[in-house]
Each structure stands twice: as structure tokens, then as C-alpha cells.
């Protein structure tokens, strides 16, 4: 397909830009924004597995983000006095978050479409409420005032401190998740997800164990959030329930859809836009969100299928008649 080739070339260009980007950034703030783009692109790729590939509308993805962040905070902060090294803590967090994906996914297996959406939304809210309230009777989460004093990522005694360093760490993780998403998409599991998205009943009749496939999607999607969560916690050096509001789920979902569901490059572009636009609009001060909302509408109106569509609808040649 012509567009696929175009997209691949564009991906290489973007990759190159990403690698040299910090050199061109005017200041630390913009490098921070770029790091945030990578962080959110990773999250969006995770949600894309659930929503874009498997077609399961998840409105509570932030729950996994929160679980990942807090798990990292438990393992590497003064809160419980545990200070696991970054390279050990992150894999543990990823595995546990994936497991939480299975736990949360399990009750939703029979649900379709928007019923699934509301249940996942419910889980998102429940997670938030638990984060707020589990500081008593015993203090687990720190309650509304969160956990502070989280360890920064350190490798071999070298602790990250500058935004540039974080940026390259996040960029590397993004590259990995992109690779993983790409491999999954064109694998038997990826096809099973897409089949479920298209027609669950036919998928079952074609021999797909939809229970397993959906749980796999939830687990992998959640594990990406586990990565993102660890990064947020170690970068912000603190976590609060306020980091994981419903609006955050919506924000990540918008990245996936605006970019073009299922299209990896599109999802990254969606994250880029939705992280950078509010920053660009910062100078508008009180009008910032007004313009952002308007922008979101306008973008969708002009690109209803998202920035990059999944299957180039318009590059088909005619089926020769019989």
C-alpha cells in the first residue's frame, strides 16, 4: 500500500527528529514537554491495544496508570522505606500491573461496547477513591496527600536528574512499546483481537478463545501503563490521587482516537498533539482550555477517522468485474 510506505518513511523521519530533538529544544521546559509526549505515547499505545486493537472501550485506563505509579512508589520511596533499584522495581511493577489488568478485565468479559465502558470507568473511579481513602485504618496509599520522596531512576549509581536524561529514558521505552505493539498487531494474537473488535461472535465461531484474548489485551495494555506509571512516579518524585482522575483516562483515549485508532504512528501523533497543544496554548492563560476544547472539535471534524486511518480506505483499485 502506498500510504503504508509513506507512513513508514514518516516514522523514520520522526524517529530521527526525536533523537536529536533535545539539541534543538530552546530550554528544559520543552525537553520536559517532549519527555511527557513520550510518556503519554507509551500510555496511549497501551490503551490502543485494548481500544484500538481489541475494540474494548476502556474509560478507566487511568486505573492502571495509577496502580503502576503507586506500586513504584511503594517499592522505591521513603513511604515504606523500600528502595528497590529502578531496574528491579520497574519489571515488578509491570508484571503486577499486568496482573491488575487481568483482575479488572475479568468481570467485564461478557460486556459489550458501552457497558464495558461504564464498568471500566467504574474501576477507574474505584481505584481513585481507594487511593484517597486507604490511608486509614493503616496508611497504605498516603491518602489525598499522596506519597512523596520517591527515588529517581538510577542505573549503576548514576541517578537521573535532568529532563534530557528522562527524555531519552522515556524515548527508549516508547521505542520498545512501539516495537511490541507492531509485533503484536501482526501476529495471531493481534488478528484475534481485531476479529473480536469486528465481530465477537464470529470470532468465537472461528475458534478464538475470546476470554483469553481479551484478558491478554487487558494485561498487555495495563503493562504499558505500568511502565508509564513507574516513569511518572520516578520523574515527579511524588504521586497523588489527583494524578489519576477520570479526565486523564479521557485524555489518553482522545490521543488514541484522534491519532487514528489502531494506527501506531497515529497514536504517537495523537499523544504529541494532545500533550503539546495545551502547552502551546499556555500563554492564553484563562482561555487555554476553551481553545483546547474548540481545537479538539475542529480536529475531529476535519479528520473524523483520526489523523492517520487504519486501513487506507481510499487506496483500493477496483475489483475487476466478472
Amino acid at each position: 500500500m502506498a500510504t503504508a510506505g509513506w507512513q513508514r518513511r514518516m516514522a523514520w523521519v520522526l524517529g530521527a527528529v526525536a533523537v536529536v530533538g533535545p539539541l534543538a529544544a530552546p530550554n528544559d521546559y520543552w525537553i520536559g514537554v517532549m519527555a511527557r509526549i513520550c510518556l503519554y505515547a507509551t500510555l496511549a499505545l497501551g490503551l490502543n491495544i485494548v481500544v484500538g486493537f481489541a475494540g474494548l472501550l476502556d474509560l478507566g485506563y487511568v486505573a492502571f496508570f495509577g496502580i503502576g505509579s503507586y506500586l513504584y512508589a511503594f517499592l522505591a520511596s521513603t513511604h515504606f522505606g523500600l528502595h528497590l533499584p529502578f531496574l528491579l522495581a520497574v519489571p515488578i511493577v509491570v508484571v503486577l500491573t499486568a496482573f491488575s489488568g487481568i483482575l479488572i478485565g475479568a468481570p467485564t468479559l461478557r460486556l459489550r461496547g458501552d457497558y464495558l465502558a461504564i464498568v471500566t470507568l467504574g474501576f477507574g473511579e474505584i481505584t481513585y477513591l481507594l487511593l484517597i481513602n486507604l490511608d486509614r485504618p493503616v496508611n497504605i496509599t498516603g491518602g489525598p496527600s499522596g506519597i512523596i520522596g520517591i527515588d529517581p531512576p538510577a542505573v549503576a549509581g548514576f541517578a537521573l536528574s535532568r529532563n534530557t536524561q528522562y527524555y531519552y529514558l522515556f524515548l527508549a521505552a516508547l521505542a520498545l512499546t512501539l516495537l511490541a505493539s507492531g509485533r503484536l498487531r501482526r501476529s495471531r494474537i493481534g488478528w484475534a483481537w481485531q476479529a473480536i473488535r469486528e465481530d465477537e461472535l464470529a470470532a468465537r465461531a472461528m475458534g478464538i478463545n475470546t476470554t483469553v484474548a481479551k484478558l491478554q489485551a487487558f494485561a498487555i495494555g495495563a503493562s504499558f501503563a505500568g511502565i508509564g506509571g513507574s516513569f511518572l512516579a520516578s520523574w515527579q518524585r511524588s504521586v497523588f490521587p489527583e494524578n489519576f482522575l477520570f479526565t486523564e483516562s479521557i485524555n489518553i483515549l482522545a490521543m488514541v482516537i484522534l491519532g487514528g485508532m489502531g494506527n501506531l504512528l497515529g497514536v504517537v501523533m495523537g499523544a504529541t498533539l494532545l500533550v503539546s497543544l495545551p502547552e502551546v496554548f499556555r500563554d492564553l492563560q484563562r482561555y487555554r482550555l476553551l481553545v483546547f476544547g474548540l481545537m479538539l472539535m475542529v480536529l475531529m471534524v476535519f479528520r473524523p477517522e483520526g489523523l492517520l486511518t487504519l486501513q487506507g480506505r481510499h487506496d483500493e483499485e477496483a475489483e475487476p468485474g466478472a
Binding site: 477513591l129 482516537i257 483546547f292 476544547g293 474548540l294 471534524v301 473524523p304
Partner: protein
């Protein structure tokens, strides 16, 4: 425990009143969902704007000093304006933010995002034009505190009764409209298969616009009643009300009109009973757990038809 039982009737009344509010807003969600299968995230904002319109009507009346304000005519006047304004706003949104998407055959999720954009936009537009400070409804000028009656050990204010009656009437009217009339049939036809509906001669755009008008007008009416009942409105009120109403609509079976009302009432009751018997911090946890449990056993909501079982293969 005896203490708890003594307040139970009162708690039920509080729960029903709250549930009516949720149900009213949920009706609009369900209407729009019914045709476009789209969660209209801007519905909460339409509800909020309805509340502001009602506030302005009341404020202008007070300013004009039209003598004694009697709820019998003031409330309908507020409702009328709010419904009209909210309805037109809904139609406008449909025209500019959603129609361009669904006409081009976008996936269901495209409109969801543009609805979120609309919701952010409206919220901030109201904040910027009306101020971030909340506004106070002068309800006490309309409904004296003494207007209340005793039912089974619970004291019920007249306002709650007005609310329940208005909500009931609206729900019933809508139900009849959708199930019994030709318009209702065409709404359902559009919902199922837009292209086939056109081939039947249905003007799809008009049907969708009408649906948006009705759903949004209901949201506007809900806004006024909520303003009267809670006496405070602010630009952010649509957020949590919208979330709860959406939950209620799904609980009842989304797309089902009586389901929306039922879902609202149940949600209201669950919340008020949850704070009675449990740590109130977990009130919303209880509500969502109940929602999840209900959906696990009835995947299409309480009144939603179980298409899964009746689906022909």
C-alpha cells in the same frame, strides 16, 4: 441500629430525590445514545447551561420586580426557557460538532472525542462569561421552607414532589413518543441502520436533530430543577452530574428510556443507603460495585433488552 431504622424512611426520600435528578439527566443521555450510539459527553454541560438559563430568568424577574413570584408560573417559565435554549444548543452542537463526523461515516468513537472537546469548550465558555464563582438560586423566594408534607415518617418538601412529578411526566411522554409514534419509530430505525432508514424515506438528519433537541431540552429542564433544589450552580456542575447520569443510563440499559429513570432512582437510593450503613467515604465505591455486579449478571442493564441472547446468527 434502631437509630438507623428510624431515619430509613427519610433516607429513602432523600435517595429518591437525588435519583430523580440523576434520572432526568440520564434521559437525555439515553435519547442521544439511542440514535447515534454515541455517549454525548457534552450532555452534562448542556444540563449545566440549562441551570444557568433558569438562573437568569429568575434573576431578571427579580430585577424587574414583577410583584409576587409564584412558583406556579415562575417555574414553568424557567423550565421553558432553559429547555428551549438547551435544546437549540444541542441542535447546534449536533450540527457543527457531530454531524460532519457521522455523515462521513466515522467510527463511533470520533464523535465521542468531539463531544469531549465540546464539553471542555462549553465549560470554559461559561466560566469565562459567567465567572468562576458559583451562582445562587433564590429558591427560598419561590418555595417557602414550610411547604413540606409528612409521609411515613419522612418529611418531603414540595419541591421534591414537583421534581418527581416533572421527571415522571417527561419520562412517560418520551417513552410514549419513542415506542408509539412514527417519529419514535423513525428514531429507532435511524439508530439501527441509517442507510436503510433513508431508503424508507426517513430524513435522517432531521430525525437526529430532533432527537438532540429533545434530549438536550430534557437536560436543560434537569438543570433548572437541580438549581432550584440545591440552590447552587457553577460551571463545573455538569461534570459529576453527567458522570452519574451516564452511569444511571447504563445501569438501566442504555437507550432505554424507562431504564434511564430506573437507573437514576437506584443510583440515588444506593448512594443514600450506602452513607446510612457504611463509611460514607466509600459511597461511590459502593455505587460502582453495585453497577458492576448488576452488569455482570445482566450485561445489558436492568431494562435493556438482552440482544446477546436474542441475537439471530
Amino acid at each position: 441500629m434502631a437509630g438507623v431504622l428510624a431515619i430509613l424512611p427519610q433516607q429513602i426520600v432523600f435517595g429518591l430525590a437525588l435519583g430523580t435528578v440523576y434520572g432526568l439527566v440520564a434521559l437525555g443521555y439515553t435519547m442521544v445514545y439511542g440514535v447515534l450510539f454515541m455517549i454525548n459527553f457534552a450532555h452534562g454541560e448542556i444540563f449545566m447551561i440549562g441551570a444557568y438559563v433558569g438562573w437568569w430568568v429568575l434573576a431578571l424577574l427579580l430585577k424587574a420586580q414583577v410583584g409576587a413570584l409564584h412558583p406556579a408560573w415562575v417555574v414553568p417559565l424557567m423550565l421553558l426557557h432553559a429547555m428551549l435554549f438547551a435544546g437549540l444548543l444541542g441542535v447546534g452542537l449536533e450540527r457543527f460538532a457531530y454531524r460532519p463526523l457521522y455523515l462521513r461515516g466515522a467510527t463511533r468513537l470520533g464523535p465521542l472525542i468531539s463531544a469531549i472537546g465540546a464539553s471542555i469548550f462549553l465549560q470554559n465558555a461559561v466560566m469565562l462569561s459567567q465567572g468562576a464563582r458559583m451562582k445562587v438560586y433564590m429558591t427560598s423566594l419561590l418555595f417557602p421552607r414550610t411547604w413540606r408534607i409528612q409521609i411515613a415518617g419522612a418529611s418531603v418538601s414540595l419541591l421534591v414532589i414537583v421534581m418527581i412529578v416533572v421527571a415522571g411526566l417527561m419520562m412517560w411522554g418520551l417513552h410514549l413518543l419513542v415506542q408509539r409514534t412514527k417519529l419514535g419509530r423513525s428514531i429507532r430505525a435511524v439508530a439501527e441502520d441509517r442507510e436503510m432508514a433513508t431508503i424508507m424515506g426517513v430524513n435522517v438528519r432531521r430525525v437526529i436533530a430532533v432527537t438532540f433537541f429533545l434530549g438536550s431540552a430534557l437536560g436543560g429542564a434537569g438543570g433548572v430543577l437541580v438549581g432550584l433544589y440545591y440552590t447552587q450552580i457553577d460551571f463545573f456542575m455538569g461534570y459529576s452530574a453527567g458522570l452519574k447520569a451516564f452511569t444511571a443510563a447504563v445501569l438501566g440499559g442504555i437507550g432505554n428510556i424507562r431504564g434511564a429513570m430506573l437507573g437514576g432512582l437506584i443510583l440515588g437510593l444506593v448512594e443514600s443507603l450506602a452513607v446510612t450503613f457504611m463509611n460514607p467515604a466509600y459511597k461511590d465505591v459502593v455505587a460502582f460495585v453495585i453497577l458492576i455486579v448488576v452488569l455482570v449478571f445482566r450485561p445489558m442493564g436492568l431494562l435493556g433488552e438482552n440482544v446477546a441472547e436474542r441475537e439471530k446468527v
